[in-house]
């Protein structure tokens, strides 16, 4: 049932969509029927998969780099007080300037290839990961640190064996948010200038009024994003399996 539920929701949405198209008699270039989208998706499977591979690579590389930079920044900010006052404004600015506004600049600098898209995804992922992990590192239970100090633990050992593991649940929350928004970075990058990727393909089909193909690309993107999210979520759950889950709904 648990696995079936998303499928039922998905099928239900398809039915609603189909009913909207048939009852309102929508023209195909505004809202194509689910059937035509599915047919075109099958017909152009190779093309779609080719573009999807590019977008997937951009998202995954963005996740890797964003997480890497985010974790490093959080550690540096947590451990070097002078760096904190310098890095915090950078962090805020990186978020205050909309990625959309940066996209043309990044394309100008890095060209039409994958680089500016990866940079964009990295930028989007960087902030939630850094903010969450930094917060987690600062909120270590003080008693644990006290105890470790009486046991003769070094600062490095306290960081590695107490502070970092203790901050993992916070880090996981940040990475979940980051994973959910990562595709935005890649797709926006592709809109501004690209020669491959699902975002690029959607714009191309839009220009040719091939709305069904556009929807097919959107579908592939959505399925991909959901799969990445669930895989990351699964990995994070394994990483912090020790954390008890308190479901707010289970208390009366």
């Amino acid at each position: 049932m648990k696995i079936l539920r998303p499928l039922i929701v998905f099928l239900g949405l398809l039915i609603v969509w189909h009913l909207v198209v048939t009852t309102l008699d929508m023209p195909a270039f505004i809202l194509p029927s689910p059937k035509s989208v599915i047919l075109i998706a099958i017909e152009r499977m190779d093309t779609l998969m080719g573009h999807a591979a590019v977008t997937l690579a951009e998202i995954l590389l963005g996740l890797v780099f964003g997480t890497l930079f985010g974790v490093t920044s959080a550690l540096v900010m947590a451990y070097f007080r002078p760096a904190r006052s310098w890095l915090l404004p950078v962090l805020v600015i990186s978020q205050a300037v909309p990625v959309f506004a940066l996209a043309p600049v990044l394309v100008l600098w890095f060209g039409y290839g994958m680089a500016p898209k990866i940079a964009m995804a990295t930028l989007i992922i960087y902030f939630p990961v850094t903010a969450a992990f930094y917060d987690g590192l600062r909120r270590t239970e003080l008693g644990w640190v006290d105890l470790a100090r009486t046991m003769g633990a070094s600062k490095a050992s306290i960081l590695r064996k107490i502070r970092i593991p203790a901050a993992l649940p916070a880090f996981a929350s940040g990475l979940r948010v980051a994973t959910a928004v990562a595709p935005i970075g890649a797709v926006v990058g592709e809109w501004v200038g690209a020669s491959a990727g699902l975002g690029y393909y959607m714009l191309l089909m839009n220009g040719r009024v091939q709305t069904a193909a556009m929807f097919a690309a959107l579908f592939v993107l959505a399925i991909m994003a959901v799969c990445i999210y669930f895989l990351v979520d699964l990995a994070l759950r394994r990483l912090i399996a020790w954390q008890p889950e308190a479901d707010p709904a289970s208390f009366s």
Binding site: D146, L147, G152
Partner: protein, 257 residues
């Protein structure tokens, strides 16, 4: 597993605690002033005081976790410093939730990058009565079980002086009594300094009781209840001591006296 062997090595290192002219402050306000006391070797000494008087800070200062006030002295009864000779047990069990009971007991070695003596860990888990929970994580254990693991972790450290900050106060009455007995039995070969706000706990466990008061503590005298621990705090022979304690607790020194 030969626990007796471990205990004999400890006897050589047994040391008491000497605290002199201790001053504690917070935000420029002096909480405790002029406090001096001894915790004799191999005995339980209780520091009794009302909540908020600074008992925990006092203990953390002795443990070298908080900078000490200039002019105050904290040393072993042998006159040497206490670095590496103190184990600390707090009110919370302070177990790491991502480790099993066994790994928590071996935490000290893990943090120092040493190889932990697994046979000793198993022995201590047996002596604290939680051998069956060796692989359990914190969220699978009861409050009493957790404090047992914390006690085993404290014993694992082989430190001659054990500082305890109300370690039993969060437990229910029955579990508390069980753990007091267990701790008293297992810490026989150590010097224990326990902070508490509970006069009954002090009467039950303390060979020497010191009343810590807010402000000046210069005129301070230890109270030594009759008999030896573990005492029954409801024993009529302890009534006078109980009244002495209650009187001392409710009458402040200095200007208020």
């Amino acid at each position: 597993m030969t626990p007796s062997k471990v205990d004999t090595t400890l006897d050589h290192k047994s040391v008491g605690l000497h605290v002199e002219n201790m001053q504690l402050g917070w935000d420029g306000r002096i909480l405790i002033d002029g406090l001096s006391f001894e915790a004799p070797p191999l005995a339980w000494t209780c520091l009794l005081g009302e909540s908020g008087v600074g008992k925990s800070t006092l203990l953390r200062t002795i443990a070298d976790l908080v900078p000490i006030h200039p002019g105050a002295i904290v040393a072993g009864s042998d006159g040497k410093g206490l670095r590496g000779r103190i184990a600390y047990m707090a009110q919370q069990d302070l177990l790491l939730p991502w480790l099993t009971a066994t790994e928590n007991v071996a935490l000290g070695a893990r943090l120092r990058g040493e190889i932990s003596d697994l046979a000793k860990v198993v022995g201590l888990l047996e002596r604290t009565g939680i051998a069956g929970r060796a692989d359990a994580r914190v969220n699978e254990m009861s409050g009493g079980e957790r404090q047992r693991v914390a006690l085993a972790r404290t014993l694992m450290e082989e430190r001659p002086v054990v500082l305890m900050d109300e370690p039993f106060s969060a437990l229910d009455a029955i579990t508390r009594t069980q753990l007091q007995n267990l701790a008293f039995e297992l810490l026989e070969t150590r010097t224990v300094l326990m902070v508490t706000h509970d006069p009954f706990e002090a009467l039950r466990l303390g060979q020497h009781i010191h009343i810590i008061r807010a402000g000046q503590n210069a005129d301070h005298l230890p109270i030594t209840p009759p008999g030896t621990p573990l005492r029954d705090p409801t024993d009529p022979s302890l009534r006078d001591t109980y009244h002495t304690i209650m009187y001392a607790l409710s009458h402040r020194t200095g200007a208020a006296a």
